[in-house]
C-alpha cells in the first residue's frame, strides 16, 4: 500500500504528541478504539472555559500509519476552534486531506470519534463543576 505524502509527513513529524493532566478541570480526554482492533487513540484538549476555544491539543495513538496521521491531523485541526466548531469536523474531511484509501476510512472515523469523546468528556466536567466556573453563553 502506498501512503500519501501527507500521511508520511504526519508519521515522520507527528504534531502535538503527548499528554495532559486528565484530572484538570479544563482538559477533556477521549480514549477510543480497542487494542484487539489494532487501533487506540487518545486525544486530549484544553479548553478556555470563557471562550470555549480549544487552546491546546495532544494525542497518542496505537495504530497504523493512517491512524497516527488521522489523529495527528485531528489535533492540528481542533486547535484554535471553539468546541462547537470542532464538533463539526467530519471524518470524510480527514479522508480527503490525507487521501486515505477505502480500507483506511475507519481510521478517520476513529479520529472523529476521538474528538467527540474529548469534547464530551470536557463538557461533562463543566456540567459537574461549580456553577461560577461554567461559561455562560
Amino acid at each position: 500500500m502506498s501512503y500519501s505524502d501527507k500521511v508520511i509527513d504526519h508519521y515522520n513529524n507527528p504534531r502535538n504528541v503527548g499528554s495532559m493532566d486528565k484530572n484538570s478541570g479544563d482538559v477533556g480526554t477521549g480514549l477510543v478504539g480497542a487494542p484487539e482492533c489494532g487501533d487506540v487513540m487518545k486525544l486530549q484538549i484544553r479548553v478556555n472555559r470563557d471562550t470555549n476555544v480549544i487552546e491546546e491539543a495532544k494525542f497518542k495513538t496505537f495504530g497504523c500509519g493512517s491512524a497516527i496521521a488521522s489523529s495527528s491531523l485531528a489535533t492540528e485541526w481542533v486547535k484554535g476552534k471553539t468546541v462547537d466548531e470542532a464538533l463539526a469536523i467530519k471524518n470524510m474531511d480527514i479522508v480527503k486531506e490525507l487521501s486515505l484509501p477505502p480500507v483506511k476510512i475507519h481510521c478517520s472515523v476513529l479520529a472523529e470519534d476521538a474528538i467527540r469523546a474529548a469534547i464530551g468528556d470536557w463538557k461533562k466536567k463543566q456540567a459537574t463543576a461549580k456553577p461560577e466556573a461554567v461559561a455562560v453563553k
Binding site: 487494542p35 482492533c37 489494532g38 487506540v40 497504523c64 480500507v103
Partner: protein, 425 residues
C-alpha cells in the same frame, strides 16, 4: 506539485547510517518468496531458447532434450526428499499440489470414508481446499495447536475414526516457522491406515525431509520458496508401502502418469531441480548459518527492548524464521518506520479485514499482540551486517512508536490493559 514522476518515499527517521556492504532495501521476507539463486537461473536459461522443446514430444530431439532436462530435475527432487522418480508429479506450485493431494485423495477414497483431519494453522491452500470439500459433504476436523504452535498428538489420535481417509499437516509453518512432529504423525497414520499428506512448502531444502523415515504419503513442494522459480512445484505421491492413488484435478492428455495433465513448464522444472540439488548439498551447513543469524537478530532486538515476545516454539523451528510481537506498537506502523527493510506483519491492517493473523490467534496470542507482530525470514543471501542493521532499525522504530503509544503510557502507569473497558469493544 507534479505527480507524474514517482518520487521514492522517504520514510522513517533513522539515526543509523547504512553500514558498509549493506544495500538498501534489505530483503528479509524469505517466507513470502526467495530470490532465485544465480546457479538456478544459469541452469534454466538454455531451456528457453535452445532446448525449448515440449518434453512430451516423443519423436524428435527437441522433445528428447527437454525430457532429459525434466528427468534430471525429477531425480534431484526425488533425492532431496528420499523418494523415487516415479513418485514426483510436477505442478504449478505448492498451492496446486495441496489441491491435488487433498481433492485427489478425497475423490479417490470416497467409498472408504469422508473424514479429513487438518490443523487450524495450515496455509490457506489447505484450509480453503478443505472448506470446499465440506461443501461437497466431507467432514473436516481442524485440530487446535498449543501455545507453542505444535499440535497435540493425543488430539490427532482422538480425532481419527473409521471414516478418516486423510490427515494433512504442514511440515513447517509459514508465519511462525514451527516444525510439526511429522514423523510421529506419519507413524500414527500408518498404524491406522490413513493417508498422510504434508504441505512441506517451507520445509523442503531447509530441514531434512525423508518420506520413508517420516512415513509421508503425499508431500507438496514449492520452487519459489527455495531459491527456485515461481510458478512451479511438485507433489510426491507414494507408490509403495502403501500405494497411494489420487484422482487428477486437471484433465487433458494424461501427463505425469495421468495425475496432472498439461505441457510441462520445462525451464521451471529444471530450475526447481537445480534448487533441490543445491539444497541437498548445502542444506546442513546453511541451516547452522541461518540459525546463527536468526539468533543474533533475536538477541540484538530482545536485549534492548522490553515486552517483546516470540511467537511459536524456538525449539522446533525453521532456522531462518523469527516472529516477534512488540507490545504497545502496531505492526503496520512499525513496518512503515522500517520501509528500507522487507518483512511482514501479522497485523490486520495489512489485510482487508480487521482480523489479525489467524495463526497467531490459534496460539492464543491476544489480538493486540497479534497486531504487533513482525515476521522475519532470513535466507541464503542475508548477511550479518544486514541482520545488525535490521535489529537496530527495528529497535529504534519500536522505541519511537512507544513514545506515541497510549497503551505504552498506560502500561507504564501500572494500568493493566486487560482490565480497561475499551470504547471500541
Amino acid at each position: 506539485m507534479s505527480t507524474d514522476v514517482k518520487i521514492p518515499q522517504e520514510l522513517g527517521h533513522t539515526q543509523i547510517p547504512t553500514p558498509k556492504g549493506v544495500k538498501l532495501p534489505i530483503y528479509m521476507d524469505n517466507h513470502a518468496t526467495t530470490p532465485m539463486d544465480p546457479r538456478v537461473l544459469e541452469e534454466m536459461l538454455p531451456f528457453f531458447m535452445e532446448k525449448f522443446g515440449n518434453s512430451a514430444s516423443r519423436n524428435h530431439s527437441f522433445g528428447w532434450t527437454a525430457e532429459e532436462g525434466v528427468e534430471t530435475a525429477r531425480e534431484r527432487i526425488a533425492k532431496l526428499v528420499g523418494a523415487t522418480t516415479k513418485e514426483i508429479v510436477f505442478t504449478s506450485g505448492a498451492t496446486e499440489s495441496d489441491n491435488l493431494a487433498i481433492k485427489g485423495v478425497a475423490e479417490m477414497y470416497r467409498e472408504k470414508g469422508n473424514h479429513i483431519i487438518t490443523a487450524v494453522t495450515e496455509h490457506k491452500a489447505v484450509l480453503d481446499t478443505c472448506k470446499r470439500l465440506e461443501k461437497y459433504g466431507y467432514r473436516v476436523t481442524y485440530l487446535p495447536v498449543q501455545k507453542d504452535g505444535l499440535i497435540d498428538l493425543e488430539d490427532l489420535k482422538r480425532a481419527m475414526d473409521d471414516k478418516t481417509i486423510l490427515v494433512t499437516i504442514m511440515a513447517a509453518n509459514n508465519e511462525i516457522g514451527v516444525l510439526q512432529p511429522i514423523a510421529e504423525i506419519g507413524k500414527l497414520c500408518r498404524e491406522r491406515g490413513v493417508i498422510f499428506h504434508s504441505d512441506a512448502t517451507q520445509a523442503v531444502g531447509k530441514v531434512p525431509i525423508d518420506v520413508n523415515k517420516q512415513n509421508i504419503d503425499l508431500l507438496s513442494i514449492s520452487g519459489h520458496k527455495m531459491y527456485g522459480p515461481k510458478g512451479v512445484g511438485a507433489l510426491y505421491v507414494r507408490r509403495k508401502n502403501p500405494r497411494v492413488q489420487i484422482s487428477a484435478i486437471i484433465d487433458g492428455g494424461g501427463h505425469e502418469r495421468g495425475m496432472r495433465s498439461g505441457t510441462l513448464n520445462v525451464p521451471g522444472i529444471v530450475g526447481l531441480g537445480k534448487a533441490c540439488a543445491l539444497a541437498s548439498e548445502e542444506m546442513s551447513h546453511e541451516a547452522i548459518h541461518l540459525a546463527a543469524l536468526r539468533d543474533r537478530l533475536r538477541d540484538r532486538i530482545m536485549n534492548r527492548l522490553d515486552e517483546t515476545y516470540i511467537n511459536g516454539t524456538m525449539e522446533h523451528r525453521l532456522p531462518g524464521n523469527l516472529n516477534i510481537s512488540f507490545a504497545y506498537v502496531e505492526g503496520e506502523s512499525l513496518l512503515m518506520g522500517i520501509n528500507d527493510i522487507a518483512v511482514s506483519s501479522g497485523s490486520a491492517c495489512t489485510s482487508a479485514t480487521l482480523e489479525p493473523s489467524y495463526v497467531l490467534k490459534a496460539l492464543g496470542t491476544g489480538d493486540d499482540l497479534a497486531h504487533s507482530s513482525i515476521r522475519f525470514g532470513i535466507g541464503r543471501f542475508n548477511t550479518e551486517a544486514e541482520v545488525d542493521y535490521v535489529a537496530d532499525r527495528v529497535t529504534e522504530t519500536v522505541e519511537r512508536l512507544r513514545e506515541l503509544s497510549p497503551l505504552y503510557e498506560m502500561a507504564k502507569e501500572g494500568i493493566n490493559l486487560k482490565d480497561v473497558k475499551w470504547a471500541g469493544e
